[in-house]
């Protein structure tokens, strides 16, 4: 199944992995390839199986069937301590009886590295996460953000082939979380280690990831870069989970080149981008609110009446009712340069090229 020359650029290959518990199936046949030096994110709502998948890579959960390959080597049957991957745990799990430095040295000592090597590497890691002056403190004497960095340094110290991160930012407050995102991404790029990051926060995933897998109910919904997933969601779940969107039911009339002709309920025709298409079917299209603008009622792709105006600070959200009673959210920047429509106005809606995207199901 895997030819030998692909081993170098595929860090982790998950092949037909299934995880059954007594009464339910947590993972329903997942296959994924995570590339070398990639920031890869497992994204999904709680209970979608993302953490289970991460634990199976770490070795804390056994797989029911399938294979997990690390650079071409089967690791599914190895205990956690024999897998060259390390984990940053959700609540950090720092050893409370050891100092920051001892925590960072732990993995190196278990690998049998000599004292000078351990100390050198620990100093390097403390430098990396900027905690040199905290080396002799105990974890409980540190703030949440500092503990988070220690957990990162401890997991990176043994230079794992893959680093697993289990919602590591979820315990931090918003401001700290945002700054840690950039820092994590920077550290990943500097070290060149493959990161597998688990989160339920779509913004976090979009900001940091090279590629994202969106999961739901133990299945892969879509794999792709942040922009691919946001701009061209493959189904309703993905479109709805990542960002805000409008759904419209359509009849798919024809497909020519990159665009499909679709007709909405009131008879208006729209050009839609697509990943896969079946002409003659009914379908659903997704239109992101920020890719719609207003124009006069005679122009535009759609027409409707403004029914709601919501102030969001940087943005204003306007809800427009179409003739077929569908509601369309439009997001525009809060600015004095553009007139913001009033409730009751009848206006035309102009879609950017490719803004309407036909979903697969």
């Amino acid at each position: 199944m895997h030819n030998s020359n692909s081993h170098d650029d595929i860090a982790i290959a998950i092949c037909d992995v299934v995880k059954n518990y007594d009464h339910f199936c947590a993972i329903k046949n997942i296959s994924l390839e995570i590339k070398d030096s990639e920031f890869f994110t497992l994204l999904g709502p709680s209970g979608c199986g993302k953490t289970t998948l991460l634990k199976m890579i770490a070795g804390f959960e056994q797989i029911s069937t399938g294979e997990i390959l690390l650079y071409g080597k089967q690791i599914a049957n190895l205990p956690p301590n024999r897998r060259p991957v390390n984990t940053v745990f959700q609540n950090y799990a720092l050893f409370p009886h050891l100092t920051v430095r001892q925590n960072i040295k732990f993995g190196l000592q278990m690998l049998g590295k000599n004292d000078s090597e351990c100390n050198r590497r620990a100093a390097e890691m403390l430098e990396l996460v900027q905690l040199n002056s905290f080396a002799e403190r105990y974890p409980l004497q540190l703030s949440g953000g500092q503990q988070q960095r220690v957990a990162l340094a401890r997991a990176l110290a043994p230079a794992p082939q893959v680093l697993l991160l289990d919602e590591p930012l979820s315990a931090l407050d918003l401001k700290l979380r945002q700054s840690m995102r950039t820092e994590l991404k920077q550290i990943q790029q500097d070290t060149g280690i493959t990161f597998i990051f688990v989160t339920h926060d779509q913004e976090e995933a979009l900001v940091m990831s090279d590629r994202i897998v969106v999961m739901s109910e133990g299945q892969v919904q879509q794999v792709g870069s942040a922009s691919e997933i946001y701009e061209a969601p493959s189904n309703k779940f993905v479109a709805n989970f990542i960002g805000e969107t409008n759904f419209l039911s359509v009849d798919v009339k024809s497909a020519i080149g990159d665009y499909a002709q679709c007709r909405i309920a009131d008879g208006t025709s729209l050009q839609c981008s697509f990943n896969k298409v079946h002409t003659g079917d009914t379908g659903v299209i997704s239109i992101r609110p920020e890719r719609i603008s207003f124009c006069s009622a005679q122009q535009g792709d759609l027409r409707g009446q403004v029914s709601q105006r919501i102030y969001l600070g940087t943005d204003v959200q306007i809800v427009v009712k179409l003739p077929g009673d569908e509601l369309i959210k439009v997001r525009m920047q809060n600015s004095n340069l553009v007139a913001i429509p009033n409730i009751g106005d009848v206006l035309g809606l102009k879609l950017e090229a490719g803004a309407a995207h036909l979903l697969e199901h």
């Binding site: 070795g59 390390n86 799990a93 690998l111 997991a155």
Partner: protein, 269 residues
Amino acid sequence: MASHHTVRGYPGFLSFTLLCLFMLYAPLIIVMVYSFNDSNSISHWQGFTWRWYEDVFFGLEAAKFKIAARNSLVIASIAAIASTLIATCAAVALIRGGHFRAKTASFTLINLPLMVPEIVIAVASLIFFSAIGFKTGYATILLAHIVFCIPFAYLPIAARLQGIEDIYEKAAMDLYASRWRAFKLVLLPLMMPGMMAGFLLAFIISLDDFIITNFVKGAGIETLPTAIFGAVKQGIKPNIMAISTLMLLVSVLLVTLSHFVGRIGNKQK
């Protein structure tokens, strides 16, 4: 006022509290005070003296008490160490062993001796030792003490272990520690405050035991409690009060120590 809604606001709260405290501590205070009484009578105060303490260490019965005290300390030390080790194994098995059949039964069996009347255990132990032809003496006291100290050592150890999430062992194993090293380097140090508290509790319980010891000790061997009882049978002399006060002091010291050990542990957690 808020105090009306708490138990402190109930009528008679203060007087009832004082009565309870009086009943608990008055006898102890009397013993402590009269251990310094310069009189052969145990109830008539005649002034302050150290002579009963001198009598304990250098008097006629000093040799007997010294041997008894040494027996008590040696037995308590060994029994506390052995029962702490066994209780630690039991706690790890029960709390970290996942689900297994007879888990509830095992838990109950470990803690049952706390509920069984001590006299029953004492009689049962004596019958058991004689049934298997084990000569009563030092060894039987030691065995009996190890056994009845296990539940006392188990309680603080299990309480501590229950508070330690298994994520630490997982983290250790994730960092290439074998199961054994994860236990030795991470779980054991985290459990240590519980083990110290368990050890001290077992030590005090063993040091203090009279009923079981008296049944299984055989002739010629005395621990401090049985020696004191023996002396009291010939009439209570003030030197008994001096010994009792000394034992009380040791107990208070150990309890205080175990309290501080527990506090250090909680800070760390």
